[in-house]
C-alpha cells in the first residue's frame, strides 16, 4: 500500500524478508527474494555471494552427512552407498573409503566426530576411525574400524547423532544408543514408545531433544526431552505433522522443521508452537522439508537447506 499520498517505498528489506504469499506479509516483506544479502548492512540490499560447486566430479552420490574433523579435513558420506569422500584443507577431493558393513545397507545415516574418533552409522552397524589416523585413503584402509558395534533396532532410515553431557547419542529406531567417554557402546540407553522412530536429535540446556517420525503417511509425531540420566524422558509434545525433520540451531532458541509443508516451529522447552512457514505452494505430490543435517548456524544466522520433493 502507499506509504504516503502518491509515494510507495520499498525499503528496510532486512525487516521483512519473504512474505507469506503474494497477497500477505509483514511490512517490508517481499513476495520473492532470491540471492540477496539482507543483513550485512541493515537497510541496504546487497547481492549475496554465490555458491560454487566445490566437489567437481568426485562426489557422485547424494551426501546427507558431513563431518568437520580435528585432523583438518572434512568428510562427506554417501547416503546410498558406502562411499566416503575426503576434502583436504587445500580443497582436494578424493574417495577415501568405501564402507562394507558386516550386515545391512551401506548408505550412511549419521556421522559425527566425538572424542577424536569419526563415527558413522549405516543401517545395522556403527563404524569409527581415529581422526588423526584418517588422513587419506591408505590410512583409512589401514585404520578404520568398520562394523565396530551393532545397533539394536537397525533402522534403515535414520541414525542421527548428537553429543550432550560428554556422551554421544545415536538414534536407532525407537532406541537411543550411546557411546560414553570410555568408548563403551550401549544400544538402548533410552527407548521411546514404538512406533515412533528417531529421525533427528537436538539439544536444549543439558538435555537431549528427540525428534520422531512414524512414517511418511502418518500425521503424528512427537518431540521428547531427556536429561540423559533419568530412566525415561521428561516431557513430550505431540504435533500433527509427518515427522519432525530437523532441529534448527538458533541462538538460545530451538527451532524445528516438521511435516512436509515447510512448517517451522519454535520449542519453548515443553511444547512446539508454529513459528513460520517456508512460503510456497504445496500439494499432495509436491512437498518440502529440511533433512536432519541440513541446518546450521553461520555467523549468527540460521542456514536452512530446504528440499523439494516430488512423489
Amino acid at each position: 500500500m502507499a506509504d504516503k499520498p502518491g509515494v510507495i517505498e520499498i525499503s528496510n528489506f532486512n525487516q521483512g524478508g519473504l512474505s507469506d504469499s503474494k497477497f500477505s506479509g509483514v511490512p517490508h516483506s517481499l513476495y520473492k527474494l532470491v540471492g540477496f544479502d539482507l543483513h550485512t548492512t541493515p537497510g541496504i540490499l546487497k547481492v549475496a555471494q554465490k555458491l560454487t560447486k566445490d566437489s567437481g566430479t568426485t562426489v557422485d552420490e547424494f551426501v546427507k552427512c558431513m563431518v568437520v574433523s580435528t585432523n583438518g579435513r572434512t568428510y562427506h558420506f554417501s547416503s546410498t552407498s558406502g562411499k566416503i569422500w575426503e576434502r583436504t584443507s587445500a580443497g582436494v577431493w578424493s574417495l577415501v573409503y568405501t564402507t562394507v558393513p558386516a550386515a545391512g545397507t551401506a548408505g550412511c545415516l549419521g556421522a559425527i566426530e566425538y572424542k577424536s574418533y569419526i563415527y558413522w552409522a549405516t543401517q545395522s552397524r556403527l563404524h569409527r576411525i581415529l581422526a588423526s589416523d584418517g588422513l587419506g585413503s591408505a590410512q583409512w584402509t589401514a585404520n578404520a574400524a568398520p562394523s565396530w558395534k551393532t545397533f539394536g533396532v537397525t533402522s534403515t532410515a535414520y541414525h542421527p547423532m548428537v553429543v550432550q553431557n560428554q556422551d554421544l547419542y545415536i538414534g536407532d529406531g525407537n532406541y537411543l544408543a550411546q557411546v560414553d567417554t570410555a568408548g563403551t557402546f550401549t544400544a538402548d540407553a533410552l527407548d521411546i514408545t514404538a512406533p515412533y522412530a528417531i529421525k533427528c536429535l537436538g539439544k536444549i540446556g543439558t538435555d537431549v531433544l528427540i525428534g520422531t517420525i512414524i512414517d511418511d503417511n502418518v500425521n503424528k509425531s512427537q518431540i521428547f526431552r531427556w536429561d540423559t540420566y533419568s530412566v525415561s524422558f521428561a516431557t513430550s509434545d505431540e504435533i500433527d505433522e509427518v515427522g519432525i525433520n530437523a532441529f534448527i540451531p538458533g541462538d538460545n532458541v530451538v527451532y524445528v522443521n516438521a511435516g512436509i509443508r515447510g512448517n517451522i516451529y519454535v520449542y519453548d522447552g515443553e511444547q512446539l508452537q508454529l513459528f513460520m512457514k517456508v512460503p510456497g505452494e504445496y500439494s499432495t505430490t509436491e512437498y518440502g522439508r529440511v533433512h536432519p543435517n541440513a541446518a546450521a548456524n553461520f555467523n549468527g544466522r540460521i542456514l536452512l537447506g530446504f528440499s523439494k520433493y516430488y512423489i
Partner: protein, 644 residues
C-alpha cells in the same frame, strides 16, 4: 664439449669476441657449437652496464642451454627494430631465464633436439618473451615441459602494431599447470611419432594483435588451432584448463577445435569480445566442460560452425539489455553471381565482410558474415571463371584491384545461413540472457532458456522465456535452496529469505542433504533430480563471486484494491553501482503474465536510477533483477514508485 660464456656487453651472437670459455674471461671463442652440445651462458660478467643488446643476425644460432639466470643489467635479445627476417636460436637443452628482456621484434626460440627421448624445460622465471615465436620441436624434438608461466605477448611489428607471439606445439608438450599468453597456439604433429599435450589446470590466454594497414594484416588474431596431420598420433589431455580468448580492438577470434579428424575433449573455453564488429569463430564437434561467452563491445558476432555439435556441461552466454549478444552459425553453401565492377574497383575484405570498393567512394557489401581470416570456403572468380581471389588471399588480407567491367561470381558462399549448430547438454538447466539467436539448436535433455532474448531465425530447442524471471518454474513449486533465517541483531525481527541458490541455479527437484560450517565457509550438499536422472555435488560459499541472478518481486496497490491507480515514476536509490553492475526493472499489471521493462536512466549526482512509465492498474507487480560483475554487485537503499 664446453660451456660458452657471453662477455663484453652488447653485440651479435656470431661475433667471436663475445664468447669465452670462462665467465668474465677473454673472448675470441667460436659461438656455441652447431651440434647443440654447448650451453650459452649470460651471467653477471656478461654486461657491465644497462641498455645492452644481443642480436642474432646469422641463420645458425644454436646452443644447448640458453641460460640467463645470473645475468645482470637486463640485456635485450633480438633486433632493435622491425626486421623482415626473424632472428632465431635453436635450443637443444633448456631455456632458463633471469632478468632480461626481449626486444619484441621478430625473435624465435626453436626447441629442437635430435635426442627425442630427452625432455627440454622452459623456465622463464617471469620474463616476458615479447612477441616471440616459440616452437616446441622443428624437424625433430623431444618432450617440452614448462616450469613457469610463458608470456609471449607484447611484441611489435613494423609500424608498432602489437603482435602477441605464437606458440607452435609440434611435439609432446606439458604445460606443467602454468599459464600461457600468446596471440595463438597451434598444435600439429610434425613428426611421425606419437605425442602428448598435457594442459593441466593452465589458463591459456590468446590475445589478438593490431591491424597493420600497410600490409592489410591482422597480426595474429587470437587463435587456437588444433591441426594434426594424423589425429591418432596426438593425445590431448585438457585437464582442467581454460582456453581464454581476449579479442581487443578489431581483431577476430578463431577457435579451431580440430582441423582434421575428431576434436579432443576440451575443458573450458572462454571468448571475450570487447571491440567493434568482431567475429569469434568457434569450432565444434567437441566436448567441453564449459563454454563461456562475454561481449562488452558493439556489433560483435559469435559464430558456431554450422552442422557441428558442441557437447557441454555448462554454457554461459549473456548480452546486455540494450545490446543483445549475437550467436549465429557459419554460412554454408550457395553462390552469389553477377556483381559488376565499374571503373576499376577494388576487392577486399575487412573482418567478416567482402567489399567491392568502387571509385568515387561507394562500397558495395558483397557478402557479410562470410569471410574470416581463416575461412577457406570463399573463392572469387570473374565471369570468365578466372580466379580473382581465394582463401590464401583472404588470409593475407590482400586487396585486389579489379578491371573495369569485371563481373564477379563468388562461389561456395551464401549470405544466408541455414544450417544450425547444435548445443547439447544432458540434463539440468541453462539460463542465458539477452541473446539474439540465429540458426541455433539446443538439445540433449537439458532445458535451455534464452531469457529476454530474440528468436531471430531458425532456432530449435531454446525456450524464449518471458523476460525478467530467471526462476520461472511451473508455477506451483516452492523454491529449493539454502535459506537464511536471521537478523542483524536482537532489535530486528527474524526474517526468512532464499539467500543461496545452489550452484547450478536450479530450484525444482532439489534436495539439500546437509550443511556444514567450517570457519568462515559453509558447504551444502545437494541432489538435483527430474525424477529420471540425478546429479550431485557439494557447494561452497564463494567469496570471489556474487550470485549472478539475484531477483526480487513485490506487489503494489494503493489500498483500495478494485480502484485503478496510475503508477508513474520508478526510482531505485542505490548506494553502490560498480562498473558492470546494475538493475533491470519490470512491471506487470493486474496479475498479468506480460512483463514490461522500465527504461532506467542513471543520475550519478543523486545516485538513483529512474524511469517513467505511466501505468493504470489496480495492482502493479514489480520485478527487480540485479546484474553483477564477478565479485561486484549493486547495493540498493530503497525503491520508490510514485502515483498520480
Amino acid at each position: 664439449m664446453a660451456t660458452k660464456y657471453w662477455v663484453g656487453d652488447g653485440g651479435d651472437w656470431s661475433e667471436h669476441a663475445h664468447w669465452s670459455l670462462t665467465s668474465g674471461g677473454v673472448g675470441g671463442e667460436t659461438d656455441p657449437a652447431s651440434d647443440g652440445s654447448e650451453d650459452a651462458i649470460f651471467d653477471e660478467n656478461s654486461f657491465t652496464v644497462a641498455g645492452q643488446a644481443v642480436t642474432l643476425s646469422s641463420a645458425n644460432n644454436i646452443c644447448k642451454d640458453f641460460d640467463t639466470t645470473a645475468v645482470t643489467n637486463n640485456p635485450t635479445f633480438g633486433p632493435a627494430t622491425y626486421a623482415t627476417s626473424w632472428q632465431s636460436v635453436g635450443i637443444w637443452g633448456d631455456i632458463k631465464l633471469g632478468t632480461c628482456s626481449f626486444s619484441g621484434f621478430a625473435f624465435e626460440f626453436i626447441l629442437s633436439n635430435t635426442d627425442i627421448a630427452t625432455t627440454q624445460y622452459i623456465d622463464t622465471n617471469g620474463v616476458q618473451l615479447k612477441g616471440c615465436w616459440l616452437y616446441t620441436g622443428y624437424s625433430y624434438g623431444g618432450p617440452v615441459v614448462l616450469q613457469s608461466d610463458l608470456d609471449l605477448s607484447g611484441g611489435r611489428q613494423e609500424n608498432n602494431e602489437v603482435f602477441n607471439g605464437h606458440l607452435q606445439i609440434n611435439f609432446s608438450f606439458d604445460t606443467g599447470g602454468y599459464d600461457i599468453k600468446a596471440s595463438n597456439v597451434t598444435i600439429e604433429d610434425w613428426a611421425a611419432d606419437p605425442m602428448t599435450v598435457e594442459m593441466g589446470d593452465s589458463v591459456v590466454t590468446l590475445i589478438g594483435g593490431d591491424y597493420d594497414a600497410s600490409s592489410d594484416i591482422y597480426w595474429r588474431y587470437a587463435e587456437w588451432d588444433y591441426s594434426p596431420t594424423d589425429p591418432a598420433l596426438i593425445t590431448f589431455d585438457a585437464g582442467t584448463s581454460t582456453i581464454k580468448f581476449v579479442a581487443t580492438t578489431g581483431d577476430d577470434v578463431n577457435f579451431i577445435s580440430s582441423d582434421n579428424g575428431a576434436a579432443p575433449a576440451y575443458y573450458n573455453v572462454e571468448v571475450n569480445l570487447v571491440g567493434v564488429n568482431q567475429t569469434a569463430y568457434i569450432g565444434g564437434d567437441a566436448t567441453f566442460n564449459k563454454i563461456k561467452l562475454t561481449d562488452s563491445g558493439t556489433g560483435n558476432v559469435f559464430m558456431f560452425t554450422a552442422g557441428e555439435t558442441y557437447t557441454v556441461s555448462s554454457f554461459e552466454a549473456s548480452g546486455l539489455p540494450d545490446d543483445e549478444m549475437v550467436i549465429n552459425s557459419t554460412p554454408t553453401g550457395g553462390a552469389i553471381t553477377g556483381i559488376t565492377v565499374a571503373n576499376g574497383g577494388d576487392l577486399f575484405h575487412s573482418g567478416d565482410t567482402v567489399y567491392v570498393y568502387q571509385p568515387g567512394g561507394m562500397a558495395t557489401i558483397l557478402v557479410s558474415g562470410v569471410v574470416g581470416h581463416a575461412v577457406s570456403a570463399v573463392t572469387v572468380l570473374d565471369s570468365y571463371g578466372c580466379q580473382v581471389a581465394n582463401a590464401v588471399d583472404w588470409d593475407m588480407g590482400h586487396h585486389h584491384h579489379l578491371q573495369t567491367g569485371l563481373v564477379l561470381n563468388i562461389t561456395a558462399v551464401s549470405a544466408i545461413t541455414t544450417t544450425q549448430h547444435i548445443l547439447t547438454k544432458s540434463g539440468g538447466t541453462i539460463n542465458c540472457y539477452h541473446l539474439e539467436l540465429h540458426n541455433s539448436k539446443a538439445t540433449g535433455g537439458a532445458t535451455w532458456y534464452a531469457r529476454s532474448s530474440t528468436d531471430y531465425i531458425n532456432n530449435d530447442g531454446w525456450i524464449f522465456a518471458e523476460p525478467s524471471d530467471p526462476y520461472q518454474l511451473d508455477g506451483t513449486v516452492t523454491y529449493s535452496g539454502v535459506y537464511t533465517l536471521g537478523r542483524y541483531s536482537k532489535k530486528y525481527p527474524m526474517v526468512l529469505d532464499l539467500t543461496y541458490p545452489i550452484s547450478s541455479n536450479v530450484f525444482a527437484g532439489v534436495e539439500i542433504g546437509a550443511i556444514m560450517v567450517v570457519g568462515n565457509d559453509f558447504y551444502a550438499s545437494w541432489k538435483v533430480s527430474d525424477g529420471a536422472t540425478a546429479t550431485y555435488g557439494v557447494d561452497k560459499i564463494d567469496y570471489t563471486a556474487k550470485y549472478t541472478a539475484a531477483s526480487l518481486e513485490t506487489r503494489l496497490m494503493t489500498g483500495n484494491r478494485p480502484v485503478f491507480a496510475t503508477f508513474k515514476d520508478y526510482i531505485l536509490a542505490y548506494t553502490e553501482l560498480p562498473t558492470g553492475t546494475g538493475y533491470t526493472l519490470y512491471y506487470s499489471k493486474d496479475y498479468g503474465t506480460t512483463w514490461v521493462e522500465v527504461t532506467l536512466t542513471k543520475d550519478t549526482m543523486r545516485k538513483i536510477l529512474e524511469g517513467e512509465n505511466m501505468v493504470e492498474a489496480t495492482v502493479l507487480q514489480l520485478r527487480l533483477n540485479a546484474t553483477v560483475s564477478t565479485n561486484d554487485g549493486p547495493a540498493l537503499e530503497k525503491g520508490i514508485v510514485t502515483l498520480i
